[in-house]
């Protein structure tokens, strides 16, 4: 039996080629994985740097990734060595590649056998392997080639390096290095700065408002520069708008606070005062009626001076005393009327008459189950502010009464015609009391006015702060923007969401001033319609027919179903009518007989139907 050395020689040669090809293939796969991983991680690091600046600054990714790359390549080498094919397997591959009818591999496989057929097979294989032409053709049959798509891995690696070096991405360094001279960015910064400065200036101008916004003012001041952490004009606009919204909400709170509500209650109460005949008291009453605390304070001062001077004749003095007395009475009555609280109770669906008794209101409020917590809180605030307004009104009324008695006493002059010290003390006390109430009212009015003005400025600032989004810039008219689109109308629109928010806030304010609560109503209070239809088929047969015609206009029926549809729906009404008529004539019976004419109801299951529609499968 001959030696298989020539075959082994071929096998070794083929094995080298196979191994080289395998290494190339695995390198290509490893390069693909490494390249893809590198690219993903580089892109991720660029993105993550925006949230975690230290990550980008440290730059430890690159060495790690290089290490990973080398590890991948080393693994590929190890795997290649681990999959060493056997001699027979290599010979089999050569046989397949060169179409040798498995002569080499069979010779290798039966090398240990002793029978003549095995010997013939081995000799045949050896003879074939000894042929020089086989060695020559081996190179052509098993070429070592670069694997397909082997360029993808290196390309991904190059791409990753390019991204690393050339794409600024979201890295903080890139943001800091961004040109400050960018006109759009600079304009946005400038506008935001101006807006915030204007608001701050207005807050500083009003000490009362400044005092009320004390907790928010430092925050506003600390974040003067909204561009600190921002990168794009849009973000600056959004941040400015957000701050304006916050301030606007705070101002809403101020305007709905106890102070302003108390002022409002006082105004409401004083609005029904009748002016007297005396010019000084008339001026005082008119000032109180329109809620002008400053004018009322001046008028009160004049009244007190007039009384203290004692230069009035008797008739004037009596007139003034009478007017003051009536004014004091009117104010006292106004204090007792609790008009504002009455309206608040009625708006909340409670009995307005309860307003005359505060304790009863509180008890009713505590016992009420129809009001929610927010409504109760609002009413409690109204009670508090009403109490506060009443107290102030009573003080004012008392002050007027004192002035009246002073006036009646003729200014309490001494015998030498000069005012006595007692009368001076009484004058001073009444004046101070009135002055205190009126100055408090004046401060509240100033606070309210400043808050309203600032709120309006903030709202306009929100709209200004929100520049048109990209969509509205594209659209031009700002109509098709959707949530990001512009407001309806010409121009560049603006952020639709903010504009709508401002509009809604404005409407809420308007509704509040009318003192009418909006009560939501359940639109559908019936149980939902579920289950099978119980409509009379005869009644809706015409609708079905029409519906079919309209439906086929919109959505054509496939040609092979056209006749079926036409017959089914086209003859439906006629058939139902015929069936119903038959049912009426024939009385109750089977499905063919029809149901009693009095109850031609049909459900979709058709269980007790007489005028049951023909099924889709039934022949017309």
């Amino acid at each position: 039996m001959g030696s298989t050395d020539p075959i082994l020689s071929i096998v070794r040669r083929a094995r080298r080629r196979i191994g080289l090809q395998s290494v190339l293939s695995r390198f290509a796969v490893a390069a693909l994985w490494v390249g893809a991983s590198l690219l993903i991680l580089v892109c991720a690091s660029k993105g993550l740097a925006a949230w975690w600046p230290d990550l980008g600054a440290r730059g430890w990714w690159f060495p790690v990734l290089l290490g990973l790359a080398f590890a991948g390549l080393a693994l590929a080498l190890v795997l290649t060595r681990g999959h060493r094919p056997s001699d027979v397997a290599v010979a089999s591959l050569v046989d397949v590649q060169l179409k040798l009818h498995d002569r080499l591999s069979t010779a290798m496989a039966v090398a240990g056998r002793q029978d003549p057929f095995a010997a013939a097979a081995i000799e045949d294989g050896v003879r074939l392997a000894s042929d020089r032409r086989l060695t020559e053709s081996l190179g052509r049959a098993m070429p070592v080639r670069w694997p397909k798509n082997s360029w993808i891995g290196p390309l991904l690696c190059v791409l990753a390096v390019a991204v690393w070096w050339f794409v600024p991405g979201l890295s903080p360094a890139a943001v800091q290095a961004a040109p400050v001279s960018d006109p759009e960015l600079a304009a946005a910064e400038s506008a935001a700065q101006m807006q915030i400065e204007a608001v701050q200036q207005q807050i500083e101008q009003s000490p009362e408002l400044s005092k009320e916004l004390g907790d928010i003012a430092p925050q506003q001041g600390a974040s003067n520069d909204p561009t600190n952490d921002r990168k794009t004009p849009d973000e600056i606009h959004r941040e400015t708008a957000r701050r304006m919204t916050e301030l606007s909400q705070k101002l809403d709170d101020v305007l709905s606070s106890e102070r302003t509500q108390s002022l409002s209650a006082m105004r409401d109460a004083l609005s029904k005062i009748e002016p007297g005949k005396s010019p000084e008291v008339k001026a005082l009453a008119e000032a109180l009626k329109i809620g002008d605390a400053a004018a009322a304070s001046e008028a009160m001062q004049e009244v007190m001076e007039q009384i203290a001077s004692g230069k009035m004749d008797e008739a004037t003095r009596e007139q003034m005393a009478a007017d003051l007395e009536r004014l004091a009475q009117q104010i006292a009555d106004a204090a007792d009327s609790n008009e504002a609280l009455r309206e608040a109770l009625e708006s909340a669906g409670m009995d307005g008459e309860l307003a005359s008794n505060m304790e009863a209101v509180e008890a009713a409020l505590a016992a009420s189950k129809s009001l929610n917590a927010e409504q109760k809180e609002r009413l409690r605030k109204a009670i508090k502010s009403q109490k506060s307004a009443n107290a102030k009104l009573r003080k004012l009324s008392e002050s007027c009464k004192k002035s009246c008695s002073q006036c009646k006493n003729g200014g309490s002059k001494s015998k030498d015609g000069t005012p006595s010290s007692d009368s001076e003390d009484a004058d001073s006390e009444a004046g101070e009391q009135a002055e205190g109430v009126l100055s408090e009212m004046e401060a509240d009015a100033e606070l309210e006015s400043a808050a309203k003005s600032l709120r309006s400025q903030c709202r306009s600032g929100q709209c200004q702060g929100s520049r048109p989004g990209p969509e509205s810039r594209k659209s031009g008219t700002g109509r098709e923007g959707g949530t990001k689109g512009g407001a309806i109308g010409e121009g560049d629109g603006g952020d639709g969401t903010d504009a709508v928010a401002a509009e809604v806030a404005g409407k809420k304010s308007q509704m509040g001033s009318k003192r009418k609560a909006v009560i939501a109503r359940q639109l559908v209070d019936a149980p939902p319609l579920v289950g099978e239809s119980r409509a009379r088929l005869r009644e809706i047969a015409g609708d079905i027919e029409r519906g079919y015609e309209e439906g086929t206009d919109d959505d054509p029926v496939p040609p092979h179903l056209r006749d079926l549809h036409k017959h089914y729906f086209g003859d439906l009404k006629q058939r139902i009518d015929a069936k119903s008529a038959g049912g009426a004539a024939g009385g109750s019976g089977g499905s063919g007989g029809g149901a009693p004419p009095t109850s031609p109801n049909v459900d979709s299951t058709g269980k007790q139907s007489s005028d049951k529609a023909p099924s889709a499968g039934s022949k017309p």
């Binding site: 056997s86 397997a89 089999s92 009818h101 496989a109 010997a119 013939a120 045949d124």
Partner: protein, 351 residues
């Protein structure tokens, strides 16, 4: 010297080569002799010879007029074997094929006794013409003869003379009134051969031969005896099959099993029933004969791939999806051949 003695005398590789060459020569002579009558159809003739030397049966499928019956008759004449033909019809009974017991009067004893009258199956080459026209009952009368090469009638088993070869024909069209062969019956056929229509040159020659003057050269003479056939069949059993080549046949057979470890991805839903172990046996038997016809003493994966189509096409049952999609069994088998790698694969490298 009997065929067994002749085979035992093969002791050296030289003897093997000589035997292989003798086999090739015998096959060539037989092919030539058949070619005197049958024009073209080389592939069909080769397939029939493969079945003959593999000791298997052949199912020939083709439209009428392609020479199926002529091929079988010519083969019988060329082999010098006894030849019978049974035309299968719907009213054919099993007794018409295998024979029946008849009552005979014994003139000497004046007694009556049953005697077996053999049917046409008691022959060496049986042409079952249009086998799918007979009822399954009659078709199944062939089962024992094809598998066991014996017939049992009235409790007595009768051995059939060797070699015994059944060549059945069926028409793929005119399916009305036919009884498709059951899977068990189909599995008994070693190979199924699709007889193609003749090519241009062949058809020209057929016309010349059959419509012109009859030549004596076209008469067939016996060129092979039964013992020579037995020797060739024995030689085919002896040739070498390397383990990895046999494994290829196994993988190819297992690939026909839907959802099996070697079933190619995406073909599970196309096959309802795969080939049985008998299919793998048929595959290997045919491959061995193909190797000998190629003058080689060892089977190659190419031989197995070449034998796969006739040996497996009637053993693979298409699924409803495949039928609906118009995928033929031949296309399925070809896909399996293409999808099964021929090179040696380590265990566990399925798919």
């Amino acid at each position: 010297m009997s065929s067994a003695d002749q085979l035992q005398s093969i002791r050296t590789s030289e003897d093997v080569r000589a035997a292989c060459e003798a086999f090739r020569v015998v096959a060539s002579r037989l092919r030539e002799e058949i070619g005197r009558v049958l024009v073209g159809q080389e592939q069909t003739v080769t397939s029939v010879l493969v079945a003959l030397f593999s000791n298997g049966h052949v199912l020939l499928e083709g439209v009428p007029g392609l020479g199926k019956t002529l091929l079988v008759r010519t083969l019988g004449q060329a082999l010098g074997l006894r030849f019978s033909r049974v035309q299968f019809t719907p009213d054919l009974m099993p007794a018409d094929i295998i024979g029946t017991q008849i009552v005979l009067d014994d003139p000497r004893t004046s007694q009556r006794q049953f005697a077996f009258r053999p049917g046409p199956i008691f022959t060496q080459i049986l042409l079952a013409d249009e086998i799918n026209r007979a009822s399954p009952k009659s078709q199944s009368a062939l089962l024992e003869a094809m598998q066991e090469r014996s017939i049992t009638v009235g409790g007595t088993t009768h051995k059939l003379e060797q070699p015994f070869l059944v060549l059945a024909t069926q028409n793929p069209i005119e399916q009305e009134g036919t009884y498709p062969l059951p899977e068990a019956q189909l599995d008994r056929f070693l190979i199924k051969v699709i007889v193609p229509p003749p090519e241009r040159d062949s058809l020209n020659e057929i016309i010349e031969r059959t419509t012109g003057v009859q030549s004596k050269d076209n008469e067939v003479k016996p060129v092979l005896s039964a013992s020579q056939i037995a020797w060739a069949q024995g030689l085919a059993r002896l040739i070498v099959v390397a383990p990895h080549v046999q494994d290829y046949a196994v993988r190819l057979t297992l690939a026909t099993q839907p959802g099996g470890a070697f079933s190619p991805a995406g073909m599970e839903h196309l096959i309802a029933v795969g080939a049985s172990p008998r299919g793998a046996q048929a595959l290997m038997s045919c491959a061995k004969v193909l190797a000998l016809l190629g003058g080689r003493a060892a089977v190659s994966t190419q031989d197995i791939a070449a034998a796969a189509m006739p040996a497996l096409r009637h053993r693979v049952v298409r699924s409803f999806e495949a039928e609906a999609a118009g995928v033929t069994t031949d296309a399925l088998v070809q896909q399996l051949i293409d999808a099964t790698p021929r090179e040696l694969q380590a265990a566990g490298e399925a798919r």
